[in-house]
């Protein structure tokens, strides 16, 4: 795809001492992590451990009680950051606008910000939809799509922004194993093709170990361990080991 050449390199992301409480209940309790430019960083952890809340802080949908988030060394609380760096988020549900067609959803950013003429937007949308394997879906409504297709449209919508940082919130939840592999390959492909920095929140072990350059395990709002997939797999902590090796017990 020609458009990929126009992407700037991925950005670095640093989180320092991030804290957030809701109604006095701490959800993030001093999160520290650093993601290198172009890296795929996966955050795993049990449900309710604060993963999605962390993502919302990174994209600016929530304000922290304490701590800071730096993109290429600049705080995301500065007003210019949104104009300077392009960030996108793929929501767990896809969060497609149900009143718009797939094509309108994918082109929404360009249309609303009037970045290109309508004919060019149509061409870009067609190219990006073809990239995610949905070239004939432009005129469909989101309600006509399967879960996996919705996720791919959400990724296409994120790609239109030509992002330097993509945040994925549970990208394979509710998907069958084949669709999960398609999404995982898409994440890997984007790293190789456009060098985007990716931060993936998931509790899908196959996805996490399949795509991660590095990963972290989070529990009760704290980072338990950070490292390469091999380092995390061998980290001698009962919580991490239980989470990574949870299985059914069959009694004969």
């Amino acid at each position: 795809m020609n458009r990929s050449n126009s992407h700037a390199a991925g950005v670095s992301l640093v989180v320092r001492g991030l804290r957030k409480s809701f109604d006095g209940q701490p959800v993030l309790d001093g999160i520290d992590l650093a993601v290198q430019p172009g890296e795929i960083f996966v955050i795993m952890g049990p449900s309710g451990s604060g993963k999605s809340v962390l993502l919302k802080h990174l994209i600016g949908l929530e304000a922290p009680d304490a701590g800071e988030i730096l993109i290429n060394g600049e705080s995301i609380s500065t007003p210019e950051i949104a104009a300077k760096y392009r960030m996108a988020m793929v929501f767990q549900s896809g969060a497609l606008l149900n009143s718009l067609t797939v094509g309108e959803n994918v082109g929404l950013y360009l249309t609303e910000h009037r970045l290109k003429p309508p004919a060019e937007i149509e061409k870009i949308v067609a190219e990006i939809l073809a990239d995610v394997g949905l070239k004939d879906a432009a005129n469909k409504m989101p309600a006509e799509l399967s879960g996996g297709m919705k996720k791919r449209v959400a990724i296409a919508r994120a790609l239109v922004i030509e992002p330097q940082l993509i945040l994925y919130d549970e990208p394979t939840s509710e998907l069958d194993p084949l669709s999960s592999v398609v999404i995982g390959n898409e994440i890997l492909d984007l790293k190789h093709r456009i060098g985007v920095t990716s931060l993936v929140v998931s509790h899908d072990r196959d996805l996490a170990f399949g795509v991660a350059d590095r990963m972290a395990v989070i529990a009760e709002g704290k980072i338990v361990t950070i490292g390469t997939p091999a380092e995390v797999k061998n980290f001698p902590n009962p919580l991490v080991q239980n989470f990574l090796h949870a299985d059914f017990k069959h009694e004969n």
């Binding site: 919302k56 994209i59 600016g60 949908l61 949104a82 960030m87 996108a88 988020m89 929501f91 767990q92 549900s93 969060a95 497609l96 606008l97 149900n98 009143s99 929404l108 950013y109 609303e112 910000h113 919508r157 922004i161």
Partner: protein, 245 residues
């Protein structure tokens, strides 16, 4: 309702600041405008005709018995133009359009569509709130003008064919013209513009602060309609006082 007054005023203020963007959003304004018209026109017609009729039926015979037949057209005309058309149409639109606004925006909030807009640097006030408020502020006054005309016609039909009145059409409208000034119609239209802004802001605010799942959306819809109606009645009194001076 009253604990949210600050937030509602803030949303109104932010929408006012966004007004210069209205032309850019004209496509969405037109879509909303026609949706309001399509959804309400027939209902407005039926409601207005019978309101006019019932006012004539209530006051007409009493006035005729007291040899005040020439006041029937004026009383019906004034009651509809200054009070009944703006208030009844506002209540109808609050139920039909305000509820739809709260449900649509509320569902977008619950299903993270509004979060998705924010991550794309698209301001939900520009994209969702502004077109709806501009559209309802244009549509409701027009519906009220239509409602006044249909209401007068309804009153005239009842006055003509009710055997306790039997006031000819021509006489009814001539009496109406003698008592109702253009200013009275303008008062009603101005009131309806204010009610439209109330319905738009209250309904969009309820939608934007929806939490929870389908039950939360249902709660927001109920609150949007009830709060709009309460504020319409309160503002009706205040505006009537203001316009009398």
């Amino acid at each position: 309702m009253f604990e949210n007054v600050g937030e509602i005023v803030l949303l109104f203020w932010r929408t006012l600041l966004a007004l210069p963007q209205a032309w850019r959003q004209r496509q969405k304004v037109f879509e909303q405008f026609f949706e309001i018209g399509n959804a309400s026109l027939l209902m407005v017609c039926v409601l207005s005709f019978f309101i006019g009729g019932v006012i004539a039926l209530n006051f007409g015979p009493a006035l005729v018995e007291r040899s005040l037949a020439n006041a029937v057209g004026g009383v019906v005309g004034l009651a509809i133009a200054k009070e009944l058309a703006p208030v009844m149409m506002a209540i109808l639109i609050a139920g039909r359009i305000g509820s739809a606004m709260a449900a649509e925006i509320g569902s977008m909030r619950v299903y993270q569509e509004i979060d998705a807009l924010r991550t794309m640097n698209i301001n939900p006030i520009y994209y969702l709130v502004l077109p709806r408020i501009v559209a309802i502020a244009l549509a409701l006054p027009l519906l009220v003008v239509f409602s006044i005309l249909v209401g007068w016609f309804g009153g005239a039909v009842v006055a003509e064919f009710n055997n306790r009145m039997e006031i000819p059409f021509k006489a009814f409208f001539s009496d109406l013209k003698n008592l109702v000034a253009l200013k009275d119609v303008a008062n009603g239209v101005f009131k309806s513009f204010c009610f439209a802004v109330i319905i738009g802001v209250v309904s969009c605010h309820q939608g934007l602060c929806t939490i929870g799942g389908p039950r939360g959306i249902g709660r927001s819809v109920t609150k949007a309609v009830v709060n709009s109606i309460v504020l319409i009645v309160i503002f009706d009194y205040l505006l009537t006082r203001l316009l009398q001076q």
